[in-house]
Point group: C2
Chain length 364, copies 2
């Protein structure tokens, strides 16, 4: 290449860089941006005041308010306060509100493959999910999946390993699952049905009464902390572990694409850092509250904490693989995410086997 030509290219690239910088906001447009105040709405899928989850969404909004010095104000509405809980995704997609908080498996009817960004039975725990999402290409896939809906997702919280649930009778074998009426939604419910159980759909508000009146024989909810608050130990005394159907449910922040694009770079960075911070904080708070609540539950004379028999877990695991394969066979989009998830999960399992898993298995 001739030197004069190189000079020309250099000059052009300097000009282009300057243009790009101006567009990206370092020039006059940025100054306008900087003085602009954004008043956003966020709707969630949680009941008003729901501990840790709704509280975490509100703390996230308040952190952004402080960090942005009031330039990005987010008013948070619990499920039903502005729109029904399960219309959160649509509201964000349509731009009725700028932000939502929930979990991706709530939109399984519309986007079946979204479940992998929330949790699947016998899938990865919080540790593996975060590694996949932030560093294993998971978040990029998630953005791709939500792109047609004009929604930008971020991980924002994790429930940790959820408990196996409360039962009115003991589970000693696979036989005991046959015909059992259990409140268990989603993929877990499908697997439970394959095992001969009778999954029942019930809103959180109906669970306690149904269990207490024997309308259902069992229910899963979350973990010791939320389960105790719902009083489930008064409705059924058998509490089961390990949880298998939701091993580390990722909660999600959704942002309307146009709203996200309208933010200057500093506010975008504030939102994404606040989301990552709150992702860890909510998980840590869940863990701390669950361990404190477990201690209280153990002190209640009636509560019996049992382990599911190995053959029950093995059967549920086999049926989970079968269920995921079936879903993948009939839906190429589901298959695409399933394969990416599985590839990462196998590496994660191999590493866990000689790190966290092996360490936790040391006799204490």
């Amino acid at each position: 290449m001739k030197p004069s030509f190189i000079l020309l290219i250099t000059a052009l690239s300097i000009l282009l860089t300057a243009c790009n910088e101006d567009q990206s906001g370092s020039g006059i447009s940025q100054a306008v941006h900087k003085s602009k105040t954004y008043n956003w709405k966020m709707v969630t899928t949680w009941p008003p005041g729901f501990p840790v989850l709704q509280e975490g969404a509100e703390r996230f909004a308040e952190n952004i308010n402080v960090m942005s010095n009031g330039r990005l104000k987010i008013k948070v509405y619990a499920g039903g306060e502005l729109i029904p809980a399960l219309q959160t995704f649509d509201a964000v997609s349509q731009g009725t509100v700028e932000m939502g908080h929930g979990s991706a498996y709530y939109w399984a009817g519309k986007v079946p493959e979204a479940q992998f960004f929330s949790t699947v039975p016998f899938g990865m725990t919080a540790r593996g999910m975060n590694a996949w999402l932030y560093d294993g290409g998971g978040l990029e896939l998630w953005r791709e999946v939500y792109k047609p809906f004009h929604v930008v997702p971020f991980p924002l919280g994790n429930t940790g390993v959820q408990m196996g649930g409360w039962f009115n009778k003991e589970i000693n074998s696979l036989e005991d699952i046959k015909g059992l009426k259990m409140r268990i939604p989603g993929l877990g419910g499908k697997v439970f049905a394959k095992a001969g159980g009778n999954p029942v759909l019930l809103a959180g508000s109906e669970v306690y009464t149904a269990l207490e009146r024997n309308t259902i024989d069992a229910t899963e909810w979350i973990g010791p902390f939320h389960d105790q608050r719902l009083g489930l130990y008064r409705a059924a005394e058998h509490y089961y572990y390990p949880g298998w159907h939701e091993p580390g449910t990722v909660l999600e922040l959704t942002i309307n694409q146009r709203a996200w694009d309208s933010l200057p770079a500093d506010l975008q960075a504030i939102v994404s850092n606040a989301a990552m911070a709150e992702n860890l904080r909510m998980f840590s708070e869940m863990e701390q509250k669950n361990m404190a609540a477990l201690k209280e539950l153990k002190d209640r004379p009636k509560v019996q904490i049992h382990r599911f028999p190995d053959d029950v877990l093995a059967k549920l695991k086999a049926l989970t693989d079968e269920t995921l394969e079936e879903e993948a066979a009939k839906d190429p989009k589901f298959k695409h995410i399933y394969e990416a998830y599985q590839t990462f999960r196998l590496q994660n399992d191999a590493w866990s086997d000689i790190s966290e898993n092996a360490y936790l298995a040391i006799e204490k």
Copy 2:
């Protein structure tokens, strides 16, 4: 109370609120704060370009630069670039620099109880440490411990469960540890000595050559990713798990108290959210890189991955308890933090036993 008196109190409280708001920065002083630019220095304990750890510190600084729109600029120096790595804490304490990044056990000589905020053998993993620090009172204790040094600590990263190390010979029993020369620092080293081993102090830069030339028989380093980069698989072929001496090393951000106090509320919130975000991000990156590196290590024909025998782990665990009790007996400050740590750890263990631990133990 008379109505007129209530009115007087109300008027006074309004006046006081107005005063407080002005002091807290919503008035003229805040406007001055908002236009001020802070140019800070951060020193780390890592070699220049050290993957994940030094890179994470630099990403943290850059995130703050973007979020604050250039109002808080942090120039990051690796160990030795501005001051020696192990003088990081003193430099922050004395205000020579505003920020530091390292891990609390590096200051064990000066502050023995600081080790609990980093990691102790057979202690909590990242999940439990974050729950303790953010929601179990751990961070408050940590701030109390560093207060006399005018240093404000924040968790900023986690290595995950570190590996048991590389050995020139197989470890089949406790006998095989007798006289073994191993590079293993800190409390792990003390425990190793009690087990009959010969702990050796070596800087990271000397480890490879010492192992390759049989000057030492074994070394721990970090995990598959960093170990592979150091070429340890070429120096010794026996790679051991589970790690026991560093089950989830917390990395720390330290900030000089006066520097921290000088920041307005929005920049303080930006720093603390960026720290929490990077805490999770570094851990996730470590996990992802370790699982990818483990896959590569397994493909190397010479590398043999072994599990420590149960009796070796049981002995090391018993000697760890003994060591911690001895340290606590001679140092009331150490005892104070040890007891708080133990109380939380027992709750964490009980919860792990029916959640993460039980889940990971399901036959895959």
